[in-house]
Each structure stands twice: as structure tokens, then as C-alpha cells.
């Protein structure tokens, strides 16, 4: 097992090196694609970090993404770049703590509802502030570095996210999360502090998402609330993580890569019917692949026993019993 782990790490390292050197051989368009890909892999992995094991569906991805992007837009001429990123992360953390502290003690549905409207709330607040206090809506971002640097930053963030996800999967926190996702009553009896565990993970995931927004912001040059708080982003992240499988380390990445390329193609080919196709695709995934591709592959090829964590395993079970009854 240890040898296998070393092998996986070696392969991952080679792949990372190849990805890091890719910009030297690629044109501007391909680098843009790579930025989008890395960004979505990071977003989907960060989303799954919290929502996968706890099964709390967060619809607030774009709220944090937008907070990151807008912080950069607001502060890029005032502070040096590393401080701007730190400020974005701090704001994202503060918002995540407010949301988490008020909703995570309660049943999951309150959290979903709160996150559902959060992006719209933040967008309206930022718009109101800009119109009434600063008097300008929309800001410019001028950075001294090109798309390659954005790509490398995102690549680093993606690596860190995957490492965190891997590390959490095999320590006490990850185990605690799995118990919470399965049965909160059991978790309480095991002496797990449910609210604190959930809050910590939600905050971590939110900070990563905020940083993705902050790092990607210079790509736009011109930023206004309507652009950075686009709800489609929350939707895309969710569908990617679910397609791949939110409970596997590589699941979100597995969903993000093909779907991102598909979306690129769709938005170029069918700009008007884009969201209809997306919605139908998403419903299809919920019905056909409730546990994601990763869990499906494991079930089909039988490498590992199906694990009861996945969204779908339970339902498969109940379907089996229903069949047996007939």
C-alpha cells in the first residue's frame, strides 16, 4: 500500500510539473482554457471538501468567489498584491463564519436556503454601497503580471486544495465528518463537536473559493457586481462536483475537466440555450449518477466495496429491498 501511495505521489508530481511548464509551449487561448480548468477543478474540490462528507449542499459558491474578485477590484490600487489576497481571504472567512455560525447548528435545509440567496444579497449590498457611498459602479483592475502568473497561482492553490482534501480524508477531522454525514446522533454520542467541525470545514472551503475569485479577478480587467456574482458559477461548481463524485479525492476534478470543456463548447455553439441544456444535464446527473462517476466506476468494476457515504448508495440499497419485496 505504501509503495502504491508513493507511486501515486510520483505520478501526481510529474503531472504537476508538466502542467506547470505547459504555458511555455501554449498560445494565449490555451492558457486561458487552462486557467478556467484549474479554477473549476479548485472550486469543485473546495466545494466537495465541505459538502461531500457532510451532505450540506452549499449554493453560495459564487458569493465567496465574487467577494474575492471584488476585493481585488476594490483594493488593487491601494495595497500590494499579497496583502490584497490576504484581505480577500479574511473577508471570505468572516462571511463564512457569520453564515456558518447562524445556520450550521440547525438542520441542513436552513443552510441551503441561506446560501441560496447569499450571492444575490452580497451583490445587492455591494451595488448599493458603490452607488451610494463611492458613487461609482464598476472598477478596473490593472496588474503588472500576465495570464501565466495567474495560471501558476491557481495551479498552486489547486495543489494545496487537493493536498488538504487528501490529508483531511485520513485524519480525525475527516473521520468525524464522515460520521456526521452518516448520522448526526451517532456523531454526538461519539463525542464529536458537530457544529465546530462543520464550521471549520465550511470556513476552509469558503476561503479557498474566495481565493480562486481573487486570483482570477485580473482576467476581467473591468469588474462590476453583475459580472462577478453570476449565479451560473455556483451551479457549474455543484454539477461538476456531483458528476465526478463529491466523496472522492479525484471526483470533483474528474467531473470538472470534461464538463468545463463541454461548457466552453456549448457556450460558443448555443449561447442562448446554454442554461436549458445545463439544467437538463444536471437533472440527468441527479437521476442517473447520484453518487458520481467515481462511485459508479467503483461499483461497476468492483475495485472497492461501495461505500455508504455516497448520495446514491443508500438509494441503491432501498431500491434493492424494494425489488426484493416485489
Amino acid at each position: 500500500m505504501n509503495g502504491r501511495l508513493a507511486l501515486v505521489f510520483a505520478v501526481a508530481l510529474v503531472a504537476l510539473a508538466a502542467l506547470a511548464f505547459a504555458p511555455f509551449y501554449l498560445g494565449r487561448y490555451q492558457i486561458g482554457l487552462l486557467i478556467g480548468l484549474t479554477g473549476y477543478v479548485t472550486l469543485a474540490s473546495a466545494w466537495a471538501l465541505f459538502s461531500g462528507p457532510t451532505r450540506y449542499v452549499s449554493l453560495a459558491t459564487v458569493a465567496f468567489f465574487g467577494i474575492g474578485a471584488y476585493t481585488v477590484a476594490a483594493l488593487n490600487e491601494v495595497l500590494p498584491y499579497p496583502l490584497v489576497l490576504a484581505a480577500a481571504a479574511a473577508i471570505g472567512l468572516a462571511v463564512a463564519l457569520v453564515v456558518g455560525l447562524s445556520t450550521l447548528r440547525l438542520a441542513g435545509v436552513y443552510f441551503v436556503i441561506f446560501t441560496f440567496g447569499l450571492a444575490e444579497l452580497v451583490r445587492q449590498l455591494v451595488t448599493w454601497y458603490e452607488v451610494n457611498v463611492t458613487g461609482t459602479l464598476g472598477r478596473y483592475i490593472f496588474m503588472s503580471f500576465g495570464p501565466e502568473q495567474i495560471y501558476w497561482q491557481l495551479l498552486a492553490l489547486m495543489t494545496i486544495t487537493l493536498l488538504i482534501s487528501w490529508w483531511i480524508g485520513r485524519n480525525r477531522l475527516g473521520l468525524a465528518l464522515k460520521v456526521i454525514g452518516d448520522d448526526e446522533v451517532v456523531a454526538t454520542h461519539c463525542g464529536i463537536d458537530i457544529a465546530r467541525t462543520k464550521l471549520a470545514l465550511f470556513a476552509l472551503s469558503a476561503v479557498i473559493i474566495t481565493l480562486v475569485g481573487a486570483i482570477q479577478a485580473p482576467r476581467w480587467t473591468y469588474v462590476e457586481p453583475g459580472i462577478v456574482f453570476n449565479p451560473t458559477l455556483s451551479f457549474l461548481t455543484l454539477i461538476m462536483a456531483l458528476l465526478g463524485g463529491a466523496n472522492r479525492l479525484w471526483g470533483p476534478a474528474l467531473g470538472a475537466v470534461p464538463l468545463f470543456l463541454l461548457f466552453e463548447w456549448l457556450s460558443a455553439r448555443f449561447p442562448d440555450h446554454y442554461s436549458i441544456i445545463l439544467g437538463l444535464l444536471f437533472i440527468l446527473i441527479v437521476f442517473v449518477l447520484p453518487g458520481g462517476v467515481a462511485a459508479f466506476a467503483e461499483r461497476t468494476f468492483g475495485q472497492r466495496k461501495p461505500d455508504p457515504q455516497t448520495y446514491g448508495a443508500e438509494s441503491a440499497l432501498s431500491r434493492d429491498t424494494a425489488d426484493a419485496r416485489r
Partner: protein, 290 residues
């Protein structure tokens, strides 16, 4: 000024109450958390708009067409999309997650269809736009009609659920779905009916909204959000709770818009929601058990 604000608040609140009643039926009885609820409303608003502009049909007559259509839509959606999810869900939280995800997809489908058909512009039509004087304040007749409709539909529904045998069966499902089966209630049929009724109420709410407000293809999300907050405020499955909570929310929003700043209405809504979550998550009128 004050009278105008109070009446405008009641009108808005009445509409919210009407809309939230549908959602509380869908969530409280059918156990489906429907995130595409606001989109159903907006679709109904567009239907009223088309009937008015293309066929010259007045919205009151439109209501008679659109509400049954909303019922049929809800009935079909439950049969095609929700029933399989209910069948495969092991417990309540699994169904909640599945229904949230499926209706989130549905939200984008309906919104996409509306965008293709009507574009992203703000729409409105003029109906009964004549001032009526009440207690010295001038109110458009269409707003008064909207309030009257909301109260009539809402109270009729409450009466039906409270005082008929059929309504009692539906409420039994809301309180104890497992035990309802024991006394001979077809839970599946009741759930499907409640979901369809929710669709009819969403359609009614959409038509009522279109009588006095502008709307766009993408404004469904805010309506869903507000309806959800009203549902939680009133206590899940509680119709009178939804009615009072809707009126409160409408008043608060109108007062914030009139005396503070129109751009902060959603923030006010959220402040109420936050306070509620910290203080009484079971709702103002709900019991401690969920």
C-alpha cells in the same frame, strides 16, 4: 405617506403570503424543497402578460386559465421528477438533498426557456391603473385587487384545509406521514395533490405580481428566497403562520424601501431571516419539533 406605505406593505405582504402558502404546502406536505418555485411564478406572470397583450384577455380571466395550468404543471412535475426521487430516498434528509438538487436543475431549465422566449428585459403591462383614494392616500386599483385576491385565495384554502375531511387528511400527512397510512390515507396521492396545489398557488401569485409589478425572466430566485423565509418564519406547513409572516415581511420591506433605501430591501429580508435563525429557528408560530 404613512398610510400609503402601510397599504403598499399590505399589498406586497398579501402577495408574499399567497406565494409562501404554496411553498409551505409543497415542503410541509409533499416534503419537496422546490427551488424552482419562483420560476413557476415568473412563468405564470409571463403567461398573464402574453394573454393580456396578445389576446387582450384581462388578468382576472387569465387567472382562470393560468391557475389550472399551474396545477397541471405541478402535478406533472411531481409525477415525472419527484415521484422517482421519493421512491428511492431512504429517509427524509436524502429526499431533501435530492429534491433540492433536481429542482435546482429545473430552475435553470425554466429560466433558460423564459430567457429564450422573452429575453432579459423588464416586463409589465397596464391593468386597472386608476388611483383609488383610501383614508387620504392614493392607491392604484390593481394593488387593491391584488390584496383582495391574495386574501380570498389564501383564506379559502385555509378554510378548506381546516374544515373539510379532505383537508384534514392532507394535514395528517403533514404531521405524521407514517401514521397517516395507518388510518387509510393514501400518502402518495396526498403528497402529489399538495405539490400540484402548491404549483397552482405559485401560478396565482405570479399573475397577481404581474398586475402591479415589473418582472424579468431572472427574478424568480428572489421570490423563492422570500417565500422560503416566510415559510420558515411562519413555521413549515403552517398556513396561517405563512399568512401572517408574509404580511410582516411585506410591511418591513415597504417601510425599508420608503424610509431608508430601496436598494436595501433584500438586506432587510436577510436581517429578519438571520435574527429568526438565531432566536426561533422553528418559526414565529411553529412548534419546537420540526
Amino acid at each position: 405617506m404613512l398610510t400609503t406605505a402601510i397599504i403598499a406593505g399590505l399589498v406586497l405582504g398579501g402577495t408574499y403570503a399567497l406565494v409562501a402558502m404554496g411553498l409551505t404546502l409543497q415542503y410541509g406536505i409533499a416534503r419537496i424543497m422546490n427551488l424552482a418555485y419562483g420560476e413557476t411564478m415568473i412563468a405564470a406572470a409571463f403567461a398573464a402578460f402574453v394573454l393580456k397583450n396578445a389576446l387582450g384577455l384581462n388578468p382576472m380571466a387569465g387567472l382562470l386559465l393560468v391557475v389550472p395550468a399551474g396545477f397541471a404543471f405541478g402535478y406533472a412535475i411531481y409525477g415525472v421528477m419527484m415521484r422517482p426521487l421519493v421512491a428511492r430516498a431512504g429517509d427524509r434528509s436524502a429526499l431533501e438533498i435530492d429534491s433540492i438538487l433536481a429542482t435546482f436543475g429545473l430552475l435553470f431549465v425554466i429560466q433558460g426557456v423564459l430567457l429564450v422566449l422573452f429575453g432579459s428585459n423588464y416586463m409589465s403591462y397596464s391593468y386597472l391603473n386608476i388611483p383609488v383614494s383610501i383614508l387620504g392616500a392614493n392607491i392604484a386599483a390593481n394593488r387593491l385587487l391584488a390584496l383582495g385576491l391574495a386574501l380570498t385565495i389564501g383564506l379559502t384554502l385555509y378554510g378548506l384545509l381546516r374544515y373539510t375531511r379532505w383537508g384534514t387528511a392532507i394535514r395528517a400527512v403533514a404531521v405524521a406521514p407514517q401514521s397517516a397510512v395507518l388510518v387509510g390515507i393514501d400518502v402518495n396521492r396526498a403528497a402529489r395533490f399538495a405539490f400540484a396545489l402548491g404549483g397552482a398557488l405559485a401560478a396565482a401569485g405570479g399573475v397577481v405580481i404581474s398586475m402591479y409589478q415589473t418582472f424579468t425572466a431572472t427574478s424568480g430566485v428572489t421570490f423563492t428566497m422570500k417565500a422560503l423565509i416566510v415559510v420558515i418564519m411562519g413555521g413549515v406547513g403552517n398556513l396561517l403562520g405563512a399568512l401572517s409572516a408574509g404580511l410582516i415581511l411585506g410591511m418591513v420591506e415597504t417601510f425599508v424601501a420608503t424610509y431608508l433605501e430601496p436598494g436595501l430591501t433584500l438586506a432587510a429580508t436577510y436581517a429578519i431571516f438571520l435574527a429568526l435563525l438565531l432566536w426561533r429557528p422553528q418559526g414565529l408560530f411553529g412548534k419546537a419539533t420540526r
